[in-house]
Amino acid sequence: MVQSIVLTGLAIGCIYALIAITYNVMFSASRVFSFTAGTLGMIGGVLGSLFIARMGMPVAAGLLLALAGGALLGIVTEIVAVRPVLKSLDQHLYVLSTLALALMVQQFTAIEWGTDAQPFPRLFDVARGGFDQLFWLPMLACAVVTIGLELLYRHTLVGHAFLAIAEDSFAARALGLPERTLRMASFALAGAIGALAGFAGGEMLLAFFANAPMLTFYGFVPVALGGMGNNRGAVVAGLLLGLFQQTANFLVGGIFASVAVFTVFIIVLLARPEGLAGASLPRRV
């Protein structure tokens, strides 16, 4: 029992962490939190199921296409919902524009794909075992993304450019960096990461349109608790969230587990609005 709680908790925690990283990558490039983060996760699952189970494509092709779909949605987010409102960031219009886009994608999926949760194919045709692909796929995806991003940010020129934009986009533009292209690249990257989260966690979450708001909320909890833009904090907080949720699930049942998560989230945020590892607010006057 304990083993099952820990494995499920860590696996689902990895999915939350990946969505949190999706939020962070978009935030670093634009100072905008996007409601489409969870939608990207949902789309990853739906596209994976569509390409592999329904259309019979090989797993590798299905994965690539699902990631490409996520990247495309990321770019669309940037063009439609983020770029037009960037110049008036202080009015927080991005909250509404990204919410609108997220709802559009979610409703489109509900109508065209169906409102029932549909199965996601098993990617490797092996017998179910203790440490099943159900658990290790999300963990592997999370490890690959976290390490990949570290390498990208630390050791490549493009990664340095991303960091420069995140640090100070005005200064970066003054240096001649193509800010808009880099922002679009960031959103494409975020889209692919979000889709990967839904794809790797497909067997656990299924291909279900309502995963979008669920992931949007649970994926944001690690962002808020780990400190915005902080990927390591997000992974730690994501894993803790997964474990806490599964434990509460086991102890008090599903419904009250969500109440418990919500309550803890609110209390922690009220006590430390900048997150457990975040910095304080900028100067206002």
Binding site: F33, V80, A81, P84, V85, Q91, H92, L93, V95, L96, S97, L99, A100, L101, L103, M104, Q107, F108, I111, P213, M214, T216, F217, F220, A224, G253, I255, F256, S258, V259, F262, F265, I266, L269, L270, P273, R283, R284, V285
Partner: protein, 601 residues
């Protein structure tokens, strides 16, 4: 003199007030007549739609104060509708308690709604926009899940019967009139709030939060009251909704409904009552005309939301705002009338002095102010000059409570001022302006100035809600004083104009008028002459000198040496957070180091 000036204020205010008030009320009267006469024309199913529009508006009217006026992005407000619906239904059905009469149940739903409105809303005081939006969304999800799981009380997925109100409200039209009456009352109450100091304070929090604090507006108590009210009407709407549906299950309360409420406000336009009212009617009726598209309704709402945000952020209200599309006269001059300052500021008792003793403050490794002594005396102008980054604005921010000094003390007449509680500065009659004017662009110039007098209102939120005499007296007095303040700074002809149509220099004088509403004992001006023409600077100088003559102690942070040397009694020169020199203008002008470092030869 006093009488004459007050009458000047009142006459002008009435001239702009009564006629525009009538034209503003006209659409509401038309809707009232249409609503009352509706049963004569519409039949059967349209009665249900009309009742539904009324029920939605009861909720949206309250949410409008939170979203449209307060600017708080509360997306998951459907949760309060759910709570109200279940509270009423369960109490009337007697699932958990003895059976409760419907009206009492509705009242209890209002109380439950108010309490939860406060609980859901309060995180807004601590959290930034997106965080708050997410928490309201999370709350909405959880309420539905609890309704589903708590089977013994809510009936779970099977649901529970909605309440039936006794005669004469048990028939279709009877119930319609019941809902219509409540909707009309909600319209009236929220319109009262919108036109009160509370409504203006909400828009100030939305668009110019820092200025709101400087005017003494306490965000926690104001938002608290608004969340209580908004929650209460949402709870009532829930009870009506349950009765209209006659049977409720958790499925009835989807997030789509929440989005509908939210979009109704945005379509209508922020800071308007009429706009969101029309938006609610529109969104309730629209799906009935698009029956084949009913599956796509949420999708279309989302498209609509995106289009509004990107294309017409002002909503219907801005489209209907014909008055502010007339061109303003060009080449207008600001001609202050310092003679009106006497009646405006009155004869305040000598306020003594505001002193800074050895104040020090650092940001990280940067020593912003390092052992600063300063004394601002009543009736005198004190100039604070120095190069960029020398700590001038920081000094101002320390006095108005934005930063707590690391060391040293700030004293008002010898008594130490508490470092925090920025909004308490207004009670001490310390007013200020900002380096970049902080104004509510969508409000009129007059309303912006009236914001400055918020703390002088005597009536409570409830009195304003019901438009009781004390509220009306407050409003009349604030309006007169604000007209007088506008006349004193030379802007009374622009009183009715939307503030975002003003020129930069006019905004600076508007800020001064707003600060004068406090009848300040001390006035802090942060670069008031920046961006002004030479002529305007001269008039500004005369105005500041007159304000000081009326007994106010003025601190001016400035870069224009001429202005400083013309009007100041005392000048302090800062460099790198330290005092480089202090003395009379003549002494400073002769100070070798100051001339070398700052003024130039």
């Amino acid at each position: 003199m006093d009488m004459q000036a007050t009458q000047l204020g009142r006459g002008r205010a009435d001239a702009t007030g009564s006629s525009s008030m009538f034209s503003a009320a006209l659409p509401f009267l038309a809707l009232l007549v249409a609503g009352l006469a509706f049963p004569l024309f519409g039949g059967g199913y349209w009665g249900v739609i009309a009742t539904r529009a009324c029920v939605y508006w009861v909720l949206v009217s309250g949410l409008n104060l939170v979203v449209g006026f307060g600017g708080q992005i509360a997306i998951g407000w459907v949760a309060l509708l759910t709570l109200g619906a279940y509270t009423t239904s369960v109490l009337v059905a007697g699932n958990a308690t003895p059976e409760v009469p419907p009206y009492l149940a509705l009242a209890i739903a209002a109380v439950v709604g108010a309490v939860f409105g406060l609980i859901v809303g309060l995180p807004a005081l601590r959290l930034r926009t997106f965080y708050f939006a997410i928490t309201t969304l999370g709350f909405a999800t959880i309420v539905t899940q609890v309704a589903l799981a708590w089977q013994s009380v809510t009936g779970g997925g099977v649901g529970v019967a909605g309440p039936v109100f006794p005669a004469p409200f048990d028939s279709q039209w009877g119930f319609y009139y019941f809902c219509f009456a409540l909707a009309a009352i909600c319209t009236w109450m929220t319109a009262n709030i919108a036109a009160s100091r509370f409504g203006r304070a909400l828009t100030a929090i939305r668009d110019a939060e820092v200025a709101a604090e400087a005017c003494g507006i306490a965000k926690p108590s104001l938002l608290g009251m608004v969340f209580l009210f908004s929650g209460a009407v949402a709870g009532v709407a829930g009870g009506l909704f349950a009765s209209l549906q006659s049977y409720i299950t958790p499925d009835a309360f989807t997030i789509d409904l929440s989005i509908l409420f939210f979009i109704a406000i945005l379509i209508g336009g922020r800071g308007s009552i009429l706009g969101p009212l029309l938006g609610t009617i529109l969104l309730t009726v629209l799906p009935e005309f698009a029956a084949p598209l009913v599956a796509w309704s949420t999708f279309l709402y989302a498209v609509l939301l995106l289009v509004i945000v990107l294309a017409i952020p002002g909503g219907i209200a801005e489209i209907l705002d014909f008055k502010n599309r007339r061109p303003l006269e060009s080449g207008r001059a600001i001609v202050p009338r310092p003679d009106l300052l006497g009646p405006l500021l009155g004869t305040a008792p000598d306020a003594g002095a505001l002193t800074l003793e050895q104040v020090a403050l650092s940001f990280g490794g940067v020593q912003a102010i390092d052992g600063l002594d300063l004394e601002i005396r009543a009736g005198q102008v004190h100039g604070l000059i120095g190069p960029n980054g020398s700590g001038k604005t920081t000094t101002l921010n320390v006095i108005s409570g934005y930063y707590a000094p690391k060391r040293g003390a700030i004293r008002l007449n010898g008594a130490a001022m508490h470092e925090h509680a920025r909004h308490r500065r207004a009670e001490m009659r310390i007013a200020r302006t900002f380096q970049t004017p902080r104004i509510v662009g969508s409000a009129s110039v007059l309303e912006n100035v009236m914001i400055g007098g918020t703390i002088d209102g005597k009536g409570t939120f409830v009195e304003s809600l019901l438009s009781l005499p004390r509220h009306r007296r407050d409003e009349a007095r604030l309006r007169d004083t604000a007209m007088l303040a506008l006349a004193a700074v030379g802007l009374e002809r622009l009183a009715a104009v939307r503030a975002d149509r003003l020129q930069h220099s006019e905004l600076r004088f508007t800020e001064i008028a707003r600060a004068l509403m406090l009848r300040p004992a001390f006035l802090l001006l942060d670069e008031p002459a920046a961006g002004l023409s030479a002529e305007e600077i001269e008039r500004l100088g005369e105005l500041i000198a007159a304000i000081a003559r009326a007994g106010t102690g003025v601190l001016v942070v400035e870069h224009h040496p001429d202005l400083i040397f013309d009007i100041c009694h005392h000048v302090t020169v800062l460099n790198l957070g330290k005092i480089l020199a202090a003395g009379t203008p003549a002494e400073i002008r002769a100070h070798r180091e100051v001339v070398n470092a700052y003024l130039g030869a």
